[in-house]
Symmetry: C2
């Protein structure tokens, strides 16, 4: 999994929104992000799985948006990248004999769930078109 997936994905989608009629190659996109084309293709594979872009193989191939950028929000993009807001958990099984250790992850989970809800509400209000218009 790529972290910073969201940032990369937004970058890709913004480019596709700017050139809605062209199939952009992963090489071209990678040139704008300054990232390895293979990583770009991996993120595109994810977007394809969510049916928001389509690719054409072979010569003059590439990728283009397959949805209306005014119809998709940053919240959906956020969710497509499998990202969630969280500030970490106790990774090493905390001590179950300690009242705090026993419940810490559960309580953090519920805190993070609330954080995600707040952020989702915000992201829901921003369409890909809105975001792209800033450029």
């Amino acid at each position: 999994m790529i972290s910073g997936k969201f940032a990369i994905t937004i970058h890709i989608l913004t480019l596709l929104t700017k050139y809605p009629n062209d199939f952009l190659s992963s090489e071209y996109i990678a040139g704008s992000i300054n990232l390895n084309p293979v990583l770009v293709r991996k993120e595109i594979a994810n977007l394809k799985a969510h049916h928001i872009v389509e690719s054409k193989e072979g010569k003059n191939g590439g990728t283009k948006l397959s949805v209306d950028p005014s119809k998709i929000t940053l919240k959906e993009i956020f969710e497509m990248t499998f990202e969630t807001i969280n500030l970490g958990y106790a990774k090493n099984q905390p001590n179950p004999d300690c009242p705090v250790g026993k419940k810490i992850n559960q309580n953090l989970s519920s805190l993070y769930a609330d954080m995600n809800q707040k952020v989702s509400l915000q992201l829901e209000g921003i369409s890909l078109e809105d975001f792209s218009n800033q450029f």
Copy 2:
């Protein structure tokens, strides 16, 4: 830097809140978190720098809260751990000749700033005491 700093710090502070009259050793705290005591001491060093805990060296030493847990909020704790909500940036200098590459980080920054504001508002409403009372 420790990631999951927030989670570790909250864990430490919750324990200290539960035993407000004792100096807890880093070994004891590490036992609840199931983490290396040195890492616990590093996080405590940070808390000390923010004057919210105090430590005693030597035999029977340890750490205790030095503030009223009803007076400190998760927002302050969040900020003490130097964490911010962000979903990544273009790390490799994106292409400045591309209108998107040129502004992507700036636009992401501003998006993330809004996210942080939303989250901060939420965390501001939860005191350390509130959080600890869940255990």
